[in-house]
């Protein structure tokens, strides 16, 4: 009986894994097929001859190097900007008393609930009238604050013992030195978490670059990949999937390297 139960349980787990992982395996396999093989029914699981050239074709279909560089620049700038604003604000909210602190903190936290999908139209008009449309800044500046980051880092800073800060003050350390040499090193793992968070969401963002750019100059990778879909003679699924692998790969690599941290980071939002 015990054995039967165990086998049954493992079979169920295997089905679960299959449901969530099989589509990605299918994506990888499709990216190596010939166009003909993508249009057979019943579908063949493995390609007869692995077509590596699909990747070259996806890459050549548009200025992909350009998209990739844009994606990297936007991601790095958003990361730096968010880190700066977040660290400073979290430090203030965690370690100082000042008038209006509660209200300001609440206001920043409320932005967590208001999605960017709500304010894109007025921001688009603002960018358009200031001439920032189709520049990197229209993709970077609106992502300048991270309410979630401020919240998370404030929690971490508040856990750092006050004695440490007081001791540093007695040694005449400046407030910025305290931040730099006491707070930041103690909050290292939270900072890594935030960086991962920011990287994943900025890299994957399709909506914002779509509404803020009207030409290839500042388009990012998700847009480039999405444009592979609109070819005049039907969709070339194999090339399309190859393009998607190019988009997904950096995330997969980061996920494999920092899997534990990412899971902790995403779960943490749910606990407090």
């Amino acid at each position: 009986m015990e054995v039967v139960k165990k086998v049954l349980r493992y079979a169920l787990l295997a089905v679960l894994i299959l449901i969530f992982v099989a589509p990605f395996v299918w994506m990888v396999l499709t990216s190596f097929k010939s166009l003909g093989e993508t249009l057979t029914f019943p579908p063949e699981l493995f390609p007869k001859a692995w077509q590596v050239q699909n990747y070259a074709e996806a890459w050549r279909s548009g200025p992909f190097l350009h998209y990739l560089v844009n994606s990297l620049v936007v991601t790095v700038l958003v990361l730096l900007l968010q880190m700066t604003t977040t660290v400073l604000a979290a430090y203030a909210f965690a370690c100082y008393d000042f008038k209006g602190k509660g209200v300001l903190f609440l206001l920043i936290i409320i932005t967590m609930m208001i999605p960017e999908q709500l304010t894109f139209l007025p921001i688009f008009l603002m960018m358009s009238s200031t001439g920032l449309l189709n520049t990197i800044w229209s993709l970077v500046l609106p992502m300048g604050v991270s309410a979630f980051g401020t919240f998370l880092l404030r929690q971490r800073f508040m856990q750092i013992p006050n004695e440490l800060i007081e001791a540093a003050r007695l040694d005449n350390a400046s407030e910025m030195r305290i931040l730099r040499y006491i707070m930041l090193p103690q909050a290292k793992s939270t900072l890594t978490t935030l960086a991962l968070f920011s990287f994943i969401s900025t890299w994957n963002n399709y909506f914002w670059p779509l509404v803020m750019t009207t030409n290839d100059a500042v388009r990012t990778l998700p847009l480039g990949v999405a444009m592979l879909r609109s070819s005049q003679n039907g969709i070339a699924w194999n090339v399309l999937m190859a393009g998607n692998i190019i988009l997904v790969l950096p995330i997969i690599i980061v996920y494999l390297l920092a899997h534990k941290k990412i899971v902790d980071a995403f779960v943490y939002t749910g606990i407090k």
Binding site: P23, W26, T38, T85, P122, R169, N244
Partner: protein
């Protein structure tokens, strides 16, 4: 805590500047724009007061968008919350195979929605798709997943549930692990059945977590855009058009800025009400802790 006159304000200043420029001002601007008839190309903006809202509520297309959004949201939230709660209870074990399963079901959550949309578009192809092949294997009839107006919205729900279920499962597992052990031990001593234990211990102890995930997933549903933009463009027959896509369509395709802004203001109203409810309840919860 130390009192410093201006230093903390300097620290908060950069955040507040961004907050003002890309949150407070745009929202005020959107409300202002909703009172005008303007096509973005001509320089003249006609003040029409609340005309846009009147037209909006009388617009059958918009009413369908509201209905679509409600169906999409109720189904997605209901399904993700129920299924991930059950999965969390089932997978809350430290054995390798269980943690592997947790990782597997979480993985779609971090993948770009662009890729997910295209992948599912391919799997949902009527003639060559993997999904219809699986249906064939079980002797079932094929389904026109995204081309049938009666099915398309549910297909989008399926994708959204598939993508986010692992995230909520992990949150619930974290919640389960924070329930003190002695409560379970007491239940075991009293010979409580697993179902009773779930209803009388797990659910009440997890209720703050369930409330949090419920609201987050609700708000996430209002943001749905990528799957629609890539897979259906709101079609067939407006069947998958939802709030954000509607605003996008009117703003960027039809250039009816005032009208699109009015729809934005309505959505803002709904989100604000939810936010207030959320913070009121959260404040209570913090009080009781």
């Amino acid at each position: 805590m130390t009192k410093h006159s201006s230093f903390p304000y300097l620290l908060v200043l950069p955040s507040l500047v961004f907050f003002g420029c890309f949150f407070v001002f745009p929202i005020a601007y959107m409300v202002y724009l909703s009172l005008f008839d303007w096509n973005f190309v001509t320089p003249t903006m006609n003040f029409v007061a609340l005309e846009n809202f009147k037209t909006l509520f009388a617009d059958a297309r918009f009413r369908q968008v509201v209905v679509n959004t409600v169906i999409y949201t109720v189904l997605t939230v209901g399904l993700t919350q129920t299924l991930s709660l059950l999965l969390a209870v089932a997978l809350n074990k430290n054995e390798k195979i269980y943690t592997l399963t947790q990782t597997a079901i979480f993985s779609p959550y971090i993948i770009s929605l662009v890729s997910i949309s295209m992948l599912w578009m391919w799997m949902m192809d009527v003639d060559y798709g993997l999904l219809n092949y699986v249906l064939h294997l079980f002797g079932l009839k094929e389904v026109a997943w995204i081309t049938d107006p009666n099915v398309a919205l549910y297909s989008l729900v399926l994708i959204s549930v598939w993508k986010s279920i692992g995230y909520y499962t992990l949150i619930f597992i974290a919640g389960l692990q924070s329930i003190p052990k002695y409560i379970h031990e007491a239940a075991i001593m009293d010979n409580t059945s697993p179902a009773r234990k779930f209803i009388h211990i797990t659910l009440p102890m997890l209720s703050p977590t369930i409330f949090f995930t419920g609201i987050t997933s609700l708000i996430a549903c209002f943001k749905v855009f990528e799957t629609i933009a890539i897979m259906t463009q709101g079609g067939p027959a407006n069947a998958t058009n939802t709030f954000v896509y509607f605003i996008y369509e009117y703003g960027f395709k039809f250039f009816k800025i005032g009208y699109a802004s009015a729809a934005g203001v309505v959505l803002l109203g709904i989100v604000s009400v939810l936010t207030v409810i959320y913070f009121k309840t959260m404040a209570k919860r913090v009080y009781y802790q």
